[in-house]
């Protein structure tokens, strides 16, 4: 067989070529269908949240305490406030430590040390949230003999640290090196350069990162199960158990009462709206960033 014959034998026939094109088209459609299928759950969840939850949201839902078993009505006022309190406590721990850690990684750290800190932070981000609940239980609930809002806040705060640290580092590294050099050339102290120039330049990005972390922990239930525990009344003391929206949704969803199921849907809708609005805020902030 000559070389030309070999090439001719290898050349696909018209039928083969058509088959290849059909396969390609079929795969394209299959992938488009996959993308649609991946998006479906979000729309289904949002649809049912609105269908089942919207009718139960009224003034009472935001102003009243949960009613005891058997009585209908009542609301989740304490759980909504509880979630906000827990988020605030989480932020008090997670934001300063996370931001300062990010500053270290971006501004000071040596190559090798940074590699391992980043690596550990990413691994910590992947640790199941229920594990954080157990750790804080062992740290704060057992020694102080009681579930408390403090323990819940610490659990959320610890989860926020690696999240905030990684995003802070990323946005600080985006600040041009010449800004720092300009500061040094003016004889400004390093810490002032970092706080007044670098952090100020990257502030929008840092706030975005903090909001993302807050949105992520706002819906967490597992770390609160045996730290904040939940509470059917107003909390006047942070060393006592406190209610939280995700906890209340879980308890009501697993109960046998239809009225509680209705309220669980309403609570879920409110929680989802809270998280969605943080996400929209993040989107608005980061749009501004990419434009400038």
């Amino acid at each position: 067989m000559s070389e030309a014959d070999t090439i001719a034998a290898c050349r696909p026939s018209l039928r083969q070529q058509k088959q290849r094109r059909v396969t390609s088209l079929a795969v394209t459609w299959l992938m488009g269908a996959s993308a649609l299928l991946v998006m479906t759950p979000l729309f289904l969840v949002l649809y049912f949240l609105i269908r089942e939850g919207a009718s139960s949201i009224d003034w009472n839902f935001f102003t009243q305490l949960p009613k005891p078993t058997g009585e209908t009505g009542g609301g989740m006022a304490n759980a909504i406030v509880g979630t906000l309190v827990l988020l605030a406590m989480g932020a008090v721990i997670g934001v300063p430590v996370g931001v300062m850690g990010g500053v270290y990684l971006a501004e000071y750290g040596a190559e090798t040390a940074n590699y391992w800190i980043r690596f550990t932070a990413d691994v910590l981000n992947g640790i199941p949230s229920i594990v954080w609940g157990m750790v804080v239980y062992a740290m704060l609930v057992l020694p102080f003999k009681g579930f408390s809002a403090y323990a819940g806040g610490v659990a959320l705060g610890l989860m926020m640290i690696p999240l905030v640290m990684r995003t802070t580092e990323e946005v600080l590294l985006l600040v041009p090196q010449s800004y720092r050099e300009a500061g040094l050339a003016l004889g400004i102290a390093r810490w002032k350069i970092i706080t007044v120039i670098v952090i100020k330049t990257a502030l929008k990005g840092i706030i975005t990162g903090i909001l993302v972390a807050l949105a992520r922990v706002a819906g967490e239930t597992a770390p609160l199960l045996f730290t904040a525990l939940g509470n059917n009344f107003w909390s006047h003391n942070l060393s006592q158990p406190i209610a939280a929206l995700p906890l209340q949704i879980f308890t009501y969803a697993m109960s046998a009462s239809d009225d509680w199921h209705r309220q669980a849907w309403a609570g879920a809708l409110v929680l989802m709206l809270m998280i969605l609005s943080i996400n929209i805020l993040v989107r608005l902030l980061s749009r501004g960033k990419s434009a400038s």
Partner: protein, 321 residues
């Protein structure tokens, strides 16, 4: 004149090098960064410390024993390890093909105009809290599965032992499906990052050889991105193993090892969530801590492997969803 400038510059420079505010700021930052290392040690230590009674009592046999009996104070982890692994593998079987196909669609095929909306929807899916998926799972998804999908599966694939037996609704398969939905966003977004890092030169070379769209993807893109995509799968596995609330609500919570996927199961994370506050005896609580330690060990290893695989490819920054 020159002297004045100099004398005002010198103290400033000195200040920049060794002023105490500068030093303390630096130490503060170092301290904050070090909390990460402290945290990982703390997590391991607290769980180990909490589990020490159970470790002393049962030894390594804890991992392969299938009793879970609070009345007799006798505990073994096997049904939970089994449930965690099976539900996570089911989730991967569903989520990986869908997630990678969606990522391919987004990077290789979709018109630019519809890319961003799809990406936004996938990101929003990642923002839905676990407990809301659980609520939706219990009241909407599981009844639908029980009445439609499961009977159909049994009718068509019933000859397989995994699709036989009575249908409960709350089951291992329902758990796997809900976890699949929850890891879809991370699998999709990390795969997309990986595919975007494939150089266009690869694609152009394949097109130049006369390859069709699909052949370009198969030959030039997928083979190039194989290792990175595997990293994305491992990262998804890490998330799947630790999923707690949604799984707890739909998996049926029965500590058994059943062949049928229609039967209820139990995972490490769910048993901790359900029984932790009810643990009456010290050994019971210690056994739950040991389950937590097992869960931590598995997820730690899986996540470390995923990070190492992705890091060598993209230079880090893949820990976020």
């Amino acid at each position: 004149m020159a002297e004045i400038t100099q004398s005002s510059a010198v103290p400033a420079l000195k200040n920049a090098r060794s002023g105490w505010p500068d030093l303390s700021f630096r130490w503060l930052a170092l301290l904050a960064a070090m909390t990460i290392i402290v945290l990982i040690v703390l997590v391991g230590w607290e769980l180990y410390h909490g589990a020490r009674l159970a470790i002393a009592q049962f030894g390594p046999g804890f991992l392969v024993k299938s009793n879970w009996n609070p009345v007799l104070d006798d505990y073994g982890a096997l049904p939970f390890i089994y449930g965690t692994l099976v539900s996570s593998l089911l989730a991967l079987l569903i989520a990986v093909p869908l997630g990678v196909a969606t990522a391919l669609f987004l990077t290789e095929m979709a018109p630019v105009r519809i890319r961003q909306p799809v990406i936004t929807v996938v990101e929003m899916l990642a923002a839905v809290p676990s407990v809301i998926f659980g609520l939706w799972g219990v009241f909407i998804l599981v009844p639908w599965l029980r009445d439609h999908l499961f009977p159909w599966l049994r009718a068509t694939l019933g000859f397989l032992p995994i699709f036989s037996g009575p249908i409960y609704g709350l089951s291992m398969l329902a758990g796997g499906i809900i976890v699949a939905i929850m890891i879809l966003p991370i699998v999709t977004s990390v795969s997309r990052e990986i595919l975007r890092s494939v150089p266009d030169l690869q694609r152009e070379a394949a097109y130049a050889l006369g390859a069709t769209h699909w052949e370009v993807i198969r030959i030039a893109v997928l083979s190039y991105a194989r290792r990175g995509l595997f990293g994305a799968v491992v990262l998804g596995l890490g998330r799947a193993l630790g999923e707690t609330m949604a799984v707890t609500m739909v998996i049926g919570n029965r500590p058994q090892i059943a062949v049928s996927l229609f039967a209820p199961g139990y995972t490490l994370a769910s048993v901790i969530a359900n029984e932790f506050t009810e643990a009456t005896s010290p050994l019971y609580l210690n056994s739950l801590f040991e389950l937590g330690l097992v869960l931590l060990a598995i997820t730690f290893i899986v996540n470390a492997v995923a990070q190492l695989m992705l890091r060598t490819l993209t230079g880090g920054g893949t820990g976020k969803t």
